[in-house]
């Protein structure tokens, strides 16, 4: 394949990464923004999403679409409930102290990951996509008759991959409506602005926190359900999304949802494109160093304004 079409494919794959990453990172971002804590176990909620999706589709059987639709609905709720339980048993008990929360969620990371290893096992398991038609993609080329559309061999994607992008946009829109147009969203934003004031106005802050933690985990799980027909479920799959979400949230500006989405697009797309030019390891080194240096020299994020 020539370079142009190759880059096009890489960008398309990047867009899928960006879509799923946006969901996962926004989950991390609202938890940080509203609760002021960093959830290190966030990647494990993502992993649980993929594993539960495998489990549910296998349990239901029949046409892959039936199981998959069930997984899309049940998995985020299930993972969200687990997160609410974790919030209740752990985070609330340490009063959301930022440093102790990090230590406790590192513990939670190992508990979730290792429990999955003991039950689900070390294998990677596939989930069948509900639909998966291959579509050939056109490319514009300047030939003897001027500009012409051609269909290079290998330049193709699937309906499912395109659907992932559409679904992610839809979910983010729903989230935006939830945050800006509903009473619960108003309550969340009020809590984010000032916890004491919210308490004084009779907002049940503890319930809001539990809800936000559940919602954050649910978003990560939903991202994983969408990606699992492309990637397979594995007990160690949480590490990369955690790292990438960190990168996105930090570069986007801690706690800013819009910044997070912009950064997810940027990182997701460049992840696809960078891997064309660099080895994945070098790309990861650059990304981790970028996070560290942004925090050191521009703690408000690349898109935030200095204080």
């Amino acid at each position: 394949m020539e370079f142009g079409p190759y880059l096009f494919i890489a960008s398309l794959e990047g867009a899928i990464t960006a879509a799923v990453l946006a969901l996962t990172a926004v989950g991390l971002s609202i938890v940080f923004g509203i609760m002021r804590v960093v959830n290190v176990a966030h990647g494990e909620f993502y992993m649980l999403g993929a594993v539960f999706a495998w489990w549910i589709t296998n349990l239901i059987g029949g046409h892959p679409a039936v199981g998959f639709v069930a997984a899309v609905i049940i998995t985020p709720v299930l993972v969200g409930v687990l997160a609410v339980i974790a919030d209740h048993l752990i985070l609330r008990k340490i009063d959301y102290d930022p440093e102790r929360t990090i230590v406790a969620t590192i513990g939670l990371l190992y508990v979730i990951q290792q429990t999955t290893l003991m039950t689900f096992g070390p294998e990677a398991r596939p989930v069948e996509a509900p639909f998966n038609k291959r579509i050939a993609l056109p490319w514009i080329e300047y030939g003897e008759q001027g500009l012409a559309l051609i269909w290079p061999w290998g330049l193709s994607t699937t309906t499912y991959k395109l659907a992932v992008i559409v679904a992610a946009i839809f979910i983010l829109l729903m989230l935006w409506l939830l945050m800006t147009r509903t009473r619960i969203g108003l309550i969340m934003r009020a809590t984010q602005l000032d916890r004491e004031m919210a308490t004084a106005h009779g907002i049940p802050v503890n319930k809001v926190y539990a809800l936000v933690f559940g919602l954050g985990a649910g978003l990560a799980a939903l991202g994983a359900v969408l990606i699992v027909p492309i990637q397979q479920a594995h007990y160690l799959m949480g590490a990369d999304p955690l790292l990438l979400s960190f990168i996105v949230v930090i570069i986007g500006g801690l706690g800013s949802v819009v910044g997070t989405i912009v950064a997810a697009l940027f990182i997701g797309l460049s992840d696809g494109i960078i891997s064309v030019f660099f080895t994945p390891t070098l790309a990861k080194i650059i990304a981790t160093l970028a996070v560290a240096f942004v925090l050191v020299f521009r703690p408000q994020g690349m898109f935030g304004k200095p204080e």
């Binding site: 752990i90 340490i94 102790r100 990090i102 939670l108 508990v111 429990t115 925090l295 050191v296």
Partner: protein, 314 residues
């Protein structure tokens, strides 16, 4: 009896007990304890920063690995002998902790934790990237003939045990003295109330930087000693897991106590050893212990002892 006398007696008895253990325990355990002693050195280095200065790093594996690879690579590729290679290990960790300290100290709290985590992760990936020299995850063996200092073969079980014990003793006594100096007490003041310490006229940033450098260098010495005594260097030792371990050991044993890192390392190593005989998911134990400690005993075992029974515990 004064606190200082009591604490010296405690420190010396611990060292005597450890020396005696070699002759009592079967060989498997003495090998294990040599490993624990080296890891306890790592934990003591970590404790100086976390327990005494109040800075929670999630990237100490970088310093441990700097020492380990500083020694390992200089033996493997430069043909140095063990003693000078040990110094290379020490100075690599010293240089890297100076740079990281300088950068990371521009942040604080949660940002400090994430910055140290990211730098360590970049270090781990760099070791993988330089697989040609480091042989990545697989790692490399340090030959028995390279593991001799002053004619003493450190691959022998008894030599190894006492070399580990001597290193442990030096660091144990060093920390015991350091935390009682003006510098050590200032670190505690910074941990307890850094703004007050600053307005008493202490240079907080300089103290923190020195604490990171000492802490990182001790971690590096532990890494170099590990490679030398056990003849192996590998990228596993620079993963996040090896940054979490010292945190776990120190939290369990008791942060900000001289004896805590040893207690925590002993308990945790045996817990993980025993559970790994039954399941491959042995890190489950580490996770549970982290959560339970955070919830119920943030002061750790030695901290509980100090609070309930022995208020003089150093």
């Amino acid at each position: 009896m004064s606190t200082a006398v009591r604490s010296s007696i405690l420190h010396l008895s611990v060292l005597c007990l450890l020396a005696t253990l070699f002759f009592i325990l079967p060989e498997y355990h003495s090998g294990n304890i040599a490993r624990i002693l080296i890891m306890a050195v790592y934990a003591m280095g970590y404790n100086l920063l976390f327990g005494y200065t109040g800075l929670l790093s999630l990237g100490h594996a970088l310093f441990f690995a700097s020492g380990m690879y500083g020694l390992g690579l200089s033996i493997d590729h430069l043909g140095l002998s063990a003693a000078p290679a040990m110094l290379v290990g020490l100075f690599s960790a010293l240089a890297i902790s100076t740079i990281i300290g300088f950068l990371a100290l521009r942040t604080s709290g949660v940002a400090f934790m994430i910055v140290t985590l990211m730098f360590a992760q970049a270090g781990y990936l760099t070791i993988l990237l330089a697989g040609k020299y480091t042989r990545g995850d697989e790692g490399f063996v340090i030959k028995q003939s390279d593991r001799i200092i002053a004619g003493i073969d450190l691959s022998q079980a008894d030599n190894r045990y006492f070399a580990a014990l001597i290193l442990f003793a030096i660091v144990f006594i060093f920390i015991g003295i350091l935390v009682n100096t003006r510098f050590g007490k200032t670190l505690v003041a910074i941990r307890e109330n850094s703004e007050r310490a600053r307005m008493l006229g202490y240079d907080i940033q300089r103290h923190k930087l020195i604490a990171i450098i000492i802490s990182g260098s001790l971690s590096g010495v532990a890494g170099a000693a590990y490679a030398l005594l056990f003849g192996y260097a590998g990228a596993t030792f620079s993963t996040v897991q090896y940054s979490i371990y010292p945190l776990l050991w120190v939290l369990l044993g008791g942060a900000g106590t001289t004896i805590g890192p040893l207690i925590g390392t002993v308990f945790m190593t045996y817990l993980i050893d025993i559970s790994s005989e039954y399941t491959s998911a042995y890190m489950l134990i580490a996770g549970l212990v982290l959560i339970l400690l955070t919830l119920f005993a943030p002061q750790g075992l030695a901290g509980v002892l100090r609070k309930k029974f022995l208020p003089w515990l150093p």
